[in-house]
């Protein structure tokens, strides 16, 4: 079953196209990671899915319906981001109780248990929480709501690494008990990659890649060694990133279209072949310039 479908979706703010010609579909009960650089259009896309924004053109359907101004979609979806406002005049216990009334699948005990685990007191007030604790509370709400479509936009801002890891595990465990469609936007791809089914990578408002995470691992390979040997194996279109090392050596990342024999031969000629960490790969794929920041300095 398809949960989300978008067709030539676009959203402009004045002359700026935040989301441009985006077509994709997301299957039900999968965890999809949304990545892209700052300003790539991630949040705009998520707001279009949640029905907070009206598309400038194109179409988006959630549970088969247009999300904008749609009660069915709103009732079955939760959108967690750092702009989510929570009341100042209710304590955390009361806040959770109030929110729970809006969501059919709300798990009050789970919310309480997580609150306790993350050292939040029901008597505390939201306004007095630290940044990381505010994020924790929102993440608790996002998990306990058990919405058929759960959207997290940078939910871990301000959390320390131990808390983030606990949350990833909490999300995974609850997902196994109660599968649902989850979209998770994050800059920390390496931290969340093991949770994901699929990855959606956007660049300048457009879809750049949408693939199962397994395929991302083999998407590119890194070569370190003599430039003359490496360049013979690679066509310019395959190059994703390149850096000079020493006099005639390079480190080069290329789109992986190589079979085992070619890689083996390169290895035997002294070229070192290495996997490319997913974090680095997503940087290379979304970069505007192949040389990266070094380009700025080489011009002077």
């Amino acid at each position: 079953m398809i949960c989300i479908e978008s067709e030539s979706l676009a959203k402009s703010f004045g002359k700026f196209k935040a989301v441009n010609n985006l077509s994709f579909s997301i299957e039900e009960n999968k965890i999809t990671g949304l990545v892209g650089r700052n300003g790539a259009g991630k949040t705009t896309l998520l707001k279009l899915l949640a029905g907070y924004l009206l598309p400038s053109s194109g179409e988006v359907r959630v549970f088969g319906q247009t999300p904008f101004n749609n009660l069915h979609v709103a009732a079955n979806l939760i959108f967690i981001d750092d702009q989510l406002e929570l009341p100042d005049n209710l304590n955390l216990g009361e806040t959770l109780a109030a929110i729970g009334q809006f969501y059919a699948n709300w798990r009050a005990e789970l919310a309480r248990g997580l609150l306790d685990y993350f050292s939040l007191q029901p008597q505390q007030y939201y306004a007095n929480l630290s940044k990381g604790m505010k994020s924790s509370l929102k993440m608790i709400i996002g998990i306990a709501a058990r919405c058929p479509l759960t959207i997290f936009d940078e939910p871990t801002v301000g959390m320390d690494v131990a808390v983030r890891k606990d949350f990833y595990r909490a999300l995974l465990k609850d997902f196994m008990q109660y599968p649902r469609t989850i979209i998770f936007s994050s800059h920390l791809l390496s931290e969340i990659e093991e949770l994901l089914d699929d990855l959606l990578l956007i660049k300048a408002g457009e879809k750049y890649l949408h693939l199962p995470l397994d395929e991302l691992k083999g998407y590119a390979v890194g070569f370190t060694g003599q430039a003359s040997i490496i360049n013979k194996m690679i066509t310019p279109e395959q190059i994703l990133y390149q850096r000079q090392l020493g006099k005639d050596s390079i480190y080069l990342v290329a789109r992986n279209t190589f079979n085992q024999e070619i890689l083996q031969q390169a290895r035997l000629q002294g070229v070192e072949i290495s996997p490319v960490a997913t974090d680095d790969l997503s940087i290379y794929l979304t970069a505007q310039h192949k040389g990266g920041i070094d380009n700025v300095f080489s011009r002077t």
């Binding site: 093991e194 994901l196 995470l213 002294g270």
Partner: protein, 127 residues
């Protein structure tokens, strides 16, 4: 064991290899039930679909078999077949790389054999 995020191998393959090691070490015998996709997801903190893919890889190689409603079990002779497969694939590959590196460093054959013997000794002591 923790998964190696820097490996070129997708996570499901790392899971399949870990299961192979478990069978090879004898911790799960033939016709014994192997971990379910949810147990693996819990253990390694991974998406259950990824874990399922690792399991089905071993089913395709006939190292595991399914029993309807009961789960997956280790095939007879799985241990021996994994051993043969690993010799033909990973061990030969490693030997090839050792020989290539020895060639680049101009290490003569006798010296290389001597090094292997020494390695065997320290391995035996470590056991």
């Amino acid at each position: 064991m923790l998964l190696n995020p820097d490996s070129l191998k997708p996570i499901y393959m790392q899971i399949a290899e870990w299961l192979e090691l478990e069978i090879l070490r004898g911790s799960i015998a033939s016709d014994e039930k192997i971990y379910s996709q949810y147990q693996l997801a819990e253990m390694f903190n991974i998406n259950p679909a990824t874990a399922a893919k690792g399991l089905s890889m071993l089913v395709e190689e006939n190292l595991l078999y399914k029993k309807r409603g009961l789960g997956m079990f280790v095939a007879p002779q799985a241990k021996e077949r994994i051993r043969t497969k690993r010799i033909n694939e990973s061990l030969q590959q490693l030997v090839l790389e050792v020989v290539a590196e020895a060639g680049r460093l101009h290490v003569p054959r006798e010296e290389l054999v001597r090094m292997i013997e020494m390695a065997e000794q320290s391995f035996a002591e470590g056991e």
